[in-house]
Symmetry: C2
Subunit: 712 residues, 2 copies
């Protein structure tokens, strides 16, 4: 596998090697030396003879030994030339630092295309460009120039060198954890996120994957790979650029288009990824997930030596959707026995001074609480680690004893403990011990709570895993000949938009409940159709030139008598002619007036990063003003469709409110799945709007439909 | 002023003084000694003769010298006895550590009442109980036992000793700032939040007030005092207990009831308080506000040496509602001259390596950017402070030079700079210099952004200050005799709920637009009233025993003919009899069917902490399901009423959507103010519901009204 080969290269040519300390071409060689890279290093620079004791070559192709990869630190304009030279030497991977490609607009894109053409022709795979480099910590290959990177089991994928530096520094200062690999993904011009992820999934040295993303070139492939990965290894991800201004900054940075943030978040979470919006908690969450078992039942207990911290932690965990179970009576009885009278023995447990003279009571409490079948994990907040510092030195030894016991407890009970300590920065030995036992320690309540929340979220995901679909589209699978013909006909006429009757025909063909419409081309026909329907009808104009029928006054509702229908027909045709004298008028649709129901809107579109997505919300102001909708990346499973409906905030309306009956949510769920199938069957469709769909007490009906094809 | 006298006491008796290191009675004396308290210390303990060289007294009343205050560390059961003894000595203040009062339920409340009775009788004012103590840093009076507390200009008010310890530790480790006073507010049994605040407002040593609150006993007085204070000094506040579980923990901690979190937040913010929900950013925001001028125009520029940090910071600031102005062409031109070609010279500014060889370029950029009239403040993110550490030591001196220049720049331009540095924890001298110049430095992007957001928020508030009301209620000011009589009559009948016609009468009396209803007691009367109205009518049952008219099938709408009205009248009376055979039926209201309009709900209630509050939202599911409402503490000004309407998410519905006309928001605003006046005029009202109110193209009308009085 090429990613594995590149990340485990046994020899590196540094193109643009330098003797100037501030240059990348110096730092890279210095770091490879300092960190004791196990492979061969070849500086390349036509102007130098020797660099740090190494012979310096004029070109890569002049190097006498085999060369696996090249670190290219020269400017964008030189890249194609350097790559051709690398090819002559049989180099199979290149790490390209220079910016000035896709991220700077048209000219840069052209340059990127040329680069990729050269690379493809010569079987060279590229990391970057516009990357800070990459590291393989097991082999001491550090092409980034950040020193003293701690080794560990977290693989880091970042689209920003600064963020990588931030995360590495954090690991170094505040944790015992470290990294297996780092890849600066850069512009993803060649190797993409999912390709790195595929390797990390298999890599035995990697337990957790940590990602900073600004935009993705192929979000769908990434989701597919993430879906496979998260059943074995957790992924933690921060996606920036969710604000408009943020988008601007991301645009100028990596040239990747940031997608709709709602789509991104729901897609990532559906693939089992832990998404965070706080850069402060990104590394801690990865640290926690690579240290501890996930929480199996979404239930957390809090153990505190003071009400303030307990109250804040409870707020934070509640916000994250974590439950606080009541402790069993047995647990409460046991706690009462070892804590003072004034202690709170229900969740959150407040020891009320009960640990002041003997902090090993923390371990006693933890033991009792973790035994409780209602409790899936324990968050300890307050002063632990600081009793020796604050009160009396003799207490330090007790804290260390407690740390040993709590460490073993986690292993025994297979339930996680996360600890918040005000004294973390004072580095007491007891907290070091906890970390040694894989109990993470934070001096921030926010972060400790978010880590606990992540353990619960990952646990919830693993339990629900098998119910999910895997983002694999099976284009064309259920395509029908008649459907193909409808689309062909639209294309033949040079149109992109299907007429309402064409759209409904296509939907009906795939079993969707559309209204029993017929096209009338005369008022007489309209009357006859209405007579057959034998109920009040609606009339709507049909013309490829009139997309917005209401704007053209081309809709008349609730028509019962022959007179009303004739008049409506004539008025609609007249209005259409006034609206657009050139319009190609195909006639008027006659539909039965729909039975009463709750209005729902279903839409699909092609997202830049994630491909086809579906949206659903309750009609009218709820969608238009409150933006109360839920999104999913297609395809969706029945479970996913059901969850999608429940994610709509105004869903209680479907359950029946204010004396109204409950509506048929199952029929709506089925319709969403049919939409998913339809979009999968006709990749030509760019956008589809079913608006409104009426959800009745029994069944649903599609009142209006709009389908737009991709431009040919 | 008693708060000032107590916080500046010149002599302290420590009741419960001890020789045991783990006891509070030891730690307090030790700390007073270590910190060099300028006043006199008198240990009190009947069992000891000498403690740390001091004579130990049996009782406070035995101390031969005058005693200002007593720190009482003995259990709850001893307090009244100790207070009586203190009184004999003329002590005027007591700091009571013990818990076991209001926070533990009925028995504790009784104990608290007894304590307050003794204190009042003897003119002793109490801090606490259930407090960690208090400190006056100017006088080295430290009754808490936390050592090395940094001195400074931040006054700290906290309802949790642990949170105080957290904040003090943070200040000590990460900042040059410190505290003027600390008060552990505890249960607020006697002295309340607003009394401390009043003193800090006047105190020349205090520049900023930092608060951790779980619940307030008199929120309204606090708001009034906060409103006065924030025009001179910023207040930063974290209120915990917003989750249900959080409430439970807060309840057992201080015995204070936590109020509705939406009400609290909107009330605090209207009084100019900076509210945060992140305990991590609480001290940093206070530090920033006490260091820097607020931002005058809500406009912030970002200066970054890497895209990743810039993108995340932009996301965070956008979330906080801060604007990113375009930089002027002049500014961009000037930046282009000093930065490399690949730099981004619009906001966020990315130097793209332009500072690598010379970090003084940061100061050059800051100078150019702060000169831009569009820019109100500057957030610098990235590696500043670490160039010397990471690249070459020689760069450190340049960073120090840049720090001096940026420090002076802030003073000159009177615009704030906040800095994020990845290298903050490495403590480079350049970052120390920045702090010396009052430029705060954080290693967290989250926190740096929140601090910048707080400067913008406080600046926005100061600009809008004069438009606001001041929470001073003028009970009964506009009471009308006729209104009083309506209420007296309800009371006379032993009711709490006004009948619909009574409620509407009261509203009409105060100029509110109620429908032209009349009460009919026979079908004939109903017909006559309808004839006069000369439009379709609604009939509604009137009975003190039927509060929910629809449940009793007591409402009939859209009645036009005499026949319809007669039938409706009889049916309503019959239904009411079936619903409650004992019901006291007063007749039927005849109302004209209301003109079409957007449904709005207005409600008022008495909040436990903040007194009368008003709520407004759009009718139907928007209020019931989406909970899309806005809250204000009464009274409200026109500006505040306007803002209240704009805070409703679905407000675009009133502006006219989907072809509907714009509605009369001004009339709605006037109605909200009238409601405010009404509640102010009749303090007997506990709850009022105007539901629905119809907002027309011109004017509003109240269709139904419910008023409930406080229990007598």
């Amino acid at each position: 596998m090429y990613v594995e080969k590149i990340l485990n290269a046994e020899s590196v040519a540094v193109v643009g090697a330098s003797r100037n300390e501030t240059k990348r071409g110096y730092q890279a060689i210095k770091t490879l030396l300092d960190e004791k890279y196990e492979g061969a290093i070849y500086p390349v620079n036509p102007k130098e003879k020797k660099i740090m004791g190494f012979t310096c070559y004029k070109k890569v192709s002049e190097i006498p030994e085999p060369v696996d990869i090249a670190l290219i630190t020269t400017p964008a304009s030189t890249i194609t030339r350097v790559l051709e030279d690398c090819a002559a030497k049989g180099v199979f991977g290149a790490v390209i630092i220079a910016g000035g490609f896709g991220e700077i607009g048209h000219e840069g894109k052209k340059r990127a295309d040329e680069m990729i053409e050269v690379a493809n022709r010569n079987n060279i795979r590229i990391i970057g460009p516009n990357t800070s480099g990459m590291m393989n910590m097991n082999q001491n290959m550090n092409l980034v120039g950040i020193r003293d990177v701690p080794k560990g089991d977290i693989a880091l994928l970042s689209q920003s060198g600064n963020m990588a530096l931030t995360l590495i520094t954090e690991a170094k200062i505040k944790s015992l954890k470290g990294f297996s690999y780092y890849v600066g993904v850069g512009n993803e011009s060649d190797i993409k996120f999912h390709e790195y992820l595929e390797f990390f999934h298999k890599d035995p040295n990697t337990k957790t994957i940590l990602m900073y993303v600004e935009g993705m070139r192929d979000g769908r492939k990434f989701l597919q790979q993430a879906y496979k990965t998260t059943k074995d290894k957790p992924i933690v991800l921060l996606k920036s650029g969710r604000s408009l201004t943020g988008k601007k900054a991301a645009g100028s940075h990596t040239g990747a288009l940031a997608g709709m943030s709602e789509v991104a978040r729901s897609a990532f979470e559906r693939a089992g990824i832990i998404v965070t919006e706080s850069s402060d908690s990104l590394f801690p969450i990865a640290e926690t997930l690579s240290s501890l078992p996930p929480i199996k039942n979404n239930n957390v207990a809090i153990l505190a030596d003071g009400g303030g911290h307990a109250t804040i932690a409870a707020d934070l965990l509640s916000d994250l959707g974590v439950n606080f179970p009541e402790l069993t009576e047995k647990t409460q009885e046991k706690l009462k026995k070892i804590l003072p009278f004034s202690a709170t023995v229900n969740n959150p447990v407040d020891v009320a001074g009960g640990t002041d003279a003997d902090p090993t009571v923390f371990a006693d409490c933890a033991d009792i609480i973790l035994k409780d079948p209602n409790v899936g994990g324990l968050l300890i907040v307050g002063l632990f680690g600081g009793y020796g510092i604050r009160f009396a030195e003799s207490l330090s030894l007790m804290e260390e004893d407690a740390a040993h016991r709590m460490g073993k407890l986690v292993r025994k009970r297979k339930k996680p403990i996360v600890l918040h300590s005000l004294f973390s920065s004072e580095k007491p030995h007891s907290l070091h011990l906890l970390r040694y036992y894989n109990i993470p320690v934070y001096d921030s309540l926010d972060i400790a709570s978010k880590c606990m929340g992540a353990l619960a979220q990952y646990g919830n995901y693993l339990k629900s895993y098998h119910a999910k679909t895997n983002f694999v589209l099976n284009w064309g699978a259920k395509t029908k000949d008649k459907g193909k013909k409808i689309i062909e006909n639209v294309r033949k006429e040079g149109r992109c938009a299907l007429l309402e009757n064409e759209a409904k025909c296509l939907l009906k063909l795939h079993g969707m409940p559309v209204s029993k419409d017929k096209l009338a081309t005369t008022a007489d026909q309209a009357v006859k159709i209405a007579e057959k329907l034998n109920q009040p009808v609606a009339l709507k104009i049909v013309s490829p030139d009139i997309l917005h029928k209401s704007d053209a006054k081309g809709v008349k509702l609730n028509l019962s008598t022959e007179e009303q229908i004739r008049e409506a027909y004539d008025t609609i045709i007249e209005n259409a002619r006034i609206y657009d004298p050139e319009a190609d008028i195909r006639g008027v649709i006659v539909s039965p007036m729909a039975e009463e129901g709750v209005e729902v809107i279903i839409g699909t579109k092609i997202d830049d990063q994630f491909g086809p997505v579906i949206m659903c919300g309750l009609g009218g102001i709820l969608v238009e003003i409150i933006k109360d909708v839920s999104f999913r990346v297609l395809p969706i499973s029945p479970t996913s469709a059901k969850k999608m409906i429940e994610d709509i905030k105004s869903v209680p309306v479907l359950n029946g409110v204010r004396g109204n009956p409950a509506r048929d949510k199952k029929a709506l769920k089925r319709l969403l799945i049919m939409c998913s199938d339809l979009i999968e069957s006709y990749p030509e469709i760019e956008e589809m709007d079913l608006n409104p769909v009426l959800v009745h007490e029994k069944g649903v009906s599609i009142v209006d439909a709009r389908i737009i094809l991709k431009p040919e």
